[in-house]
């Protein structure tokens, strides 16, 4: 995405005038949005994360569709995390129909999700986020000077894609997921062929943790409310209870009792609060709330990288993302090694009138789906709350903190820091639109 920087009349004498930074289209984030920052003298007056990607209206056009369709329709919301949409849709609709998918089919779903985590996290760490810390304008520029490093990242990403192809039929918008399981089970030979690449990917992911842990991080400590799923025995992917760092612990069916979304004038995405407070979802939240559920190898990688069980510096999210990539490789290998094929590729999910809720953990955070269907299986009502919309208020808070802490730096550097503060969250604007451009104005 092109990155146009607007006029900055105050740059020559930053303390004497309004400083304004315009980023017409934020680079290296998914979708279209903008950021407006206005500084008058030494005071930060205004920060708005403006999402101008047009509203997507998915919830509206799911009404009247057959209950088997939302997994494929909602997968189209995002090219980066289609599996998240498919999984949340399947679990919610299965809940409405009173069906639980467990055993080997549940494990295969988890394996598919691991593929998406590896693919999405590797893309963000290497191509979108690392350039910020190393002073490159893009992953392509990074690749010119650090060829072997970027090759490693691409190799890692590809293993994620390969997992998605084996389980999902293809890497973007998989076509093999259905209510109750899969259309076709992977062949044992296909699964076996993933083992060697995943072993290498796990080593590559460990090397990634070491690499990003060595970056120079701005000294920022942010006290944010974290929200994610939590499961008694596993790092959350497909299921769990909705928990927060403020003590929330409820079933996902109570999501809407605690999470409120409201319109803000400057954005086509909704702003969310949990029990009245802005909050964040995603790797930092999951990590803080589920550190003990990470595999021993992932925990060790985190400790060696200097991370405690809670990370509060949003710039270190890149390290957490790398640790989660280690986990995803580790977990995928665990699933492969324990796999016993199920008798059938899916379990029947006959329709019944009812309402179902589900949250799963997309790479960017908790993704909520709720469906109401009738006895004939028609979707009467749908609600989707994507992760980026939930974190949007906290992203603005992070930008405020960065600006307040760096009022004296030249506007172009400040602009870069602001953009970085946004990219720390790996926002997916396409998903949130129901979501970016940076403007810093100094007076």
């Amino acid at each position: 995405m092109s990155n146009a920087v607007g006029p900055d009349p105050g740059a020559a004498a930053p303390s004497a005038a309004t400083r304004r930074i315009d980023v017409e289209a934020l680079a290296r984030v998914e979708g279209e949005g903008a950021l407006h920052v206005r500084i008058v003298g030494d005071t930060l007056e205004h920060v708005a994360l403006r999402i101008y990607e047009p509203p997507r209206l998915f919830e509206g056009f799911l009404r009247g569709r057959h209950y088997t369709e939302p997994p494929d329709i909602t997968a189209r919301i995002c090219g980066i995390c289609p599996v998240a949409y498919q999984m949340s849709a399947c679990h919610a609709l299965e809940a409405a129909c009173g069906v639980t998918v467990d055993g080997a089919l549940r494990e295969l779903r988890r394996l598919l999700y691991c593929g998406e985590w590896i693919e999405s996290h590797a893309l963000h760490v290497y191509m979108l986020h690392a350039p910020d810390f190393l002073g490159y304008p893009s992953g392509i520029h990074l690749a010119q000077d650090h060829r072997e490093t970027v090759e490693l990242g691409l190799r890692l990403k590809k293993v994620g894609n390969d997992v998605m192809v084996v389980l999902g039929g293809r890497e973007i918008h998989p076509i093999n997921v259905r209510l109750g399981g899969f259309y076709r089970l992977p062949r044992l030979s296909e699964l076996r062929a993933l083992r060697e690449p995943l072993l290498r990917a796990r080593e590559d992911a460990l090397a990634t943790v070491k690499w990003v842990a060595g970056f120079d991080f701005p000294d920022v400590e942010a006290d944010r409310v974290f929200v994610s799923l939590s499961h008694p025995s596993e790092y959350p992917l497909n299921e769990g209870r909705l928990v927060s760092s403020r003590g929330l612990d409820v079933p996902v069916s109570a999501f809407e009792d605690h999470i409120r979304e409201e319109h803000v004038a400057h954005s086509t995405a909704l702003h969310a609060t949990v029990d009245g407070e802005p909050y964040m979802v995603g790797p930092m939240a999951r990590y803080a709330l589920n550190f003990d559920k990470l595999s021993p190898l992932a925990q060790e990688a985190a400790r060696e990288a200097g991370l405690g069980p809670v990370v509060r510096n949003p710039f270190q999210s890149i390290v957490v993302r790398a640790v989660e990539t280690v986990y995803a490789c580790d977990e995928a290998l665990r699933i492969l090694d324990a796999y016993e094929p199920p008798d059938h590729a899916f379990v029947e999910v006959p329709p019944r009138a009812g309402r179902g809720h589900a949250c799963t953990e997309a790479p960017r955070g908790t993704l909520y789906h709720r469906y109401t269907i009738n006895a004939a299986g028609m979707v009467l009502d749908a609600r989707i709350v994507p992760p980026t919309a939930q974190s949007q208020a906290v992203i603005e808070e992070d930008v405020r903190d960065v600006v307040r802490g760096h009022l004296d730096v030249p506007t172009d550097q400040l602009q870069h820091l602001c953009e970085q503060a946004v990219r720390n969250h790996d926002p997916c604007i396409s998903c949130a639109t129901h979501f970016l451009k940076l403007e810093v104005e100094r007076r």
């Binding site: 092109s2 979708g31 279209e32 090219g79 191509m127 060829r147 590809k158 894609n161």
Partner: protein, 168 residues
Amino acid sequence: MTTLVVGVGNDDRGDDGLGPLAARLLARALERERPPVPAVPPVPAPAAAVPPPGVAVVAWTGDPMGLLDVWSGYERLVLIDAVVSGAAPGTCRRYGPDAPFARAPGASTHGLGLASALALARALGRVPEAIEVWGIEAAQFEAGAPVTPEVARAVLALVEQLETELAG
């Protein structure tokens, strides 16, 4: 010389589907000229009609970054993609490897578009020696719309031209 032809695009977004469409038509045309292996001992086919070995055609509708692995190892790469230059819809132009493709904001919903994938491949030294890009001017990218007639005509003309060149 080994050649790879890749038609890039999204079948479900109007004229963005012209790349995959061209690739499929070209693959079929080349296949026609190269009869499938018969069960009985073959009569030698006319030499001219058999496309040289080492020509592969791919319709690519996935993540453009994945192309780095697809085109690795080929000596010549022929890319077919939709372009927006302001020319009349269906205008077909051949661009060199250094064409200044700008990625318009919002042109792709993915991390990297084709131009970025090419730039990345170049940075990594993973591009074929010879690259040509055929760009056909698109009229629309409507969800679910078919390829516009004048664009389809340009696709057919390009397929015919490439078929003659590659089969010869």
